[in-house]
């Protein structure tokens, strides 16, 4: 389907060279019976979206309710429910709408309230009970916000990013306790939406790595 636009054929030589390298050039056409079955299976799904979506054609922006459920689960208040759902893998037929899905899943946490409890010695059993635990890198460090990109998630709803938001005063305490620095890697755990300090969250080094490995590594 060549467009009428002249720029399409700008540099036909380059295009031909690209076309010669087309990895789908050797792809055999699909078996027509198989295609017919696929289309029939598609049409047997009766859960249509009938609401007209404003917006331009080809810009599939509607979020299906399922996507919202997943987003809500990610927005932590969490009981670890979404975990099994996202790792199930046997649910291929569940469609997600095309659009709006480039947005990263973000978990929001808060700094703990001022130290109202004495610290216990960090141990793997308590760590393993944390509702959220992940390895992440500090992407942004603000007065009232720390943004981490998640590299590995050990507990809690899967997220691409975790935002810790708190009033500046509390945040200062947290940043001091965990020693958050821009660009560094941290192991962070949280329960009830609050980052767990007292040696349960900190730079991803030596002892803390071992503790996380013991709690989640098995």
């Amino acid at each position: 389907m060549s467009g009428p636009d002249g720029s399409f054929d700008d540099d036909p030589q380059l295009r031909d060279r690209l076309r010669a390298a087309d990895p789908a050039a050797s792809l055999a056409p699909a078996d027509s019976d198989r295609v017919a079955r696929l289309l029939e299976a598609t049409m047997s799904n009766t859960d249509h979206e009938t609401t007209g979506t404003p917006g331009t054609a080809g810009k599939p922006t509607t979020r299906r309710p399922l996507t919202w459920v997943a987003a809500a689960a990610a927005a932590l208040v969490v009981g670890g429910v979404a975990f099994a759902a996202t790792t199930g893998g046997d649910d291929e037929e569940t469609p997600t709408a095309g659009g709006g899905s480039d947005a990263p899943a973000v978990t929001t946490l808060a700094a703990p309230a001022a130290q109202d409890a004495r610290c216990m010695v960090p141990n793997a059993a308590v760590l393993a009970d944390q509702e959220v635990a992940f390895l992440g890198t500090v992407e942004e460090l603000g007065d009232d916000m720390v943004l981490l990109s998640v590299e590995e998630q050990y507990a809690g709803a899967e997220a691409d990013e975790v935002r810790v938001e708190s009033p500046a005063e509390q945040m200062e305490l947290l940043v001091g306790a965990v020693d958050f620095r821009d660009g560094e890697q941290y192991l962070v755990s949280a329960t009830d939406g609050e980052v767990t300090v007292c040696g349960f969250s900190g730079p991803a080094t030596g002892e803390l790595q071992s503790l996380y490995a013991e709690a989640f590594g098995g």
Binding site: D11, R15, A21, T42, E49, T50, A57, K59, P95, G99
Partner: protein
């Protein structure tokens, strides 16, 4: 549209989408993911039939593009979950070569030149040369304006030519790394 009309419209439209979508996906991911994303893309077209424009293919490519991004994101997550906490290094990046290096007669300088471009530029060139879309169709797939597509496509072609020149000049000096196919 009642159910019979829906079916009639889908049956008229969908067979023409399957082959281009299969090719689109074969160029960009592994066969198993391609199958999954194809089913999902068709399902979105079926469910949102009211929104599918008269020229459905670019719209369907856009759906496939999002579905593929989703599939790849969840694959990354599953690898992340599966990884033992003790291996604290970030997981190895997936190769961006959809042929998985199974193409010994491939145009090596071209692959290198494409890899040297920004991913968005390389994707523009693929949509132009492989899917053979015009600027307004590419605009639909990528959610850009046709004008922006024309400008970026022009720039991307220039950059690809420059990269090819550089790579082939270097290969000429070495005398050992030319195109494997003339």
């Amino acid at each position: 549209m009642d159910e019979a009309e829906r079916r009639a419209r889908f049956e008229a439209m969908a067979p023409g989408l399957v082959e281009p979508l299969r090719r689109y996906l074969a160029r960009r991911t592994d066969p198993a993911t391609a199958d999954d994303v194809l089913s999902e893309t068709l399902l979105v077209c079926w469910r949102r039939l009211d929104e599918v424009p008269d020229e459905p293919l670019p719209w369907a490519y856009a759906v496939a593009r999002h579905a593929l991004a989703n599939a790849e994101r969840s694959a990354r997550r599953q690898r992340r979950v599966a990884a033992k906490v003790a291996t604290l290094d970030p997981p190895a990046r997936m190769t961006t070569d959809p042929t998985g290096g199974q193409d010994p007669a491939g145009d090596v300088p071209l692959d290198e030149a494409l890899a040297a471009l920004r991913p968005a530029e390389a994707e523009l060139l693929r949509l132009w040369a492989w899917e053979q879309l015009g600027p307004s169709e590419i605009a639909t797939v990528l959610d850009l304006t046709p004008n922006a597509v024309s400008i970026r496509l022009h720039r991307a072609r220039q950059k690809l030519r420059e990269e090819l020149r550089k790579i082939e000049a270097a290969a000429g000096h070495e005398g050992s790394r030319g195109r494997s196919r003339s």
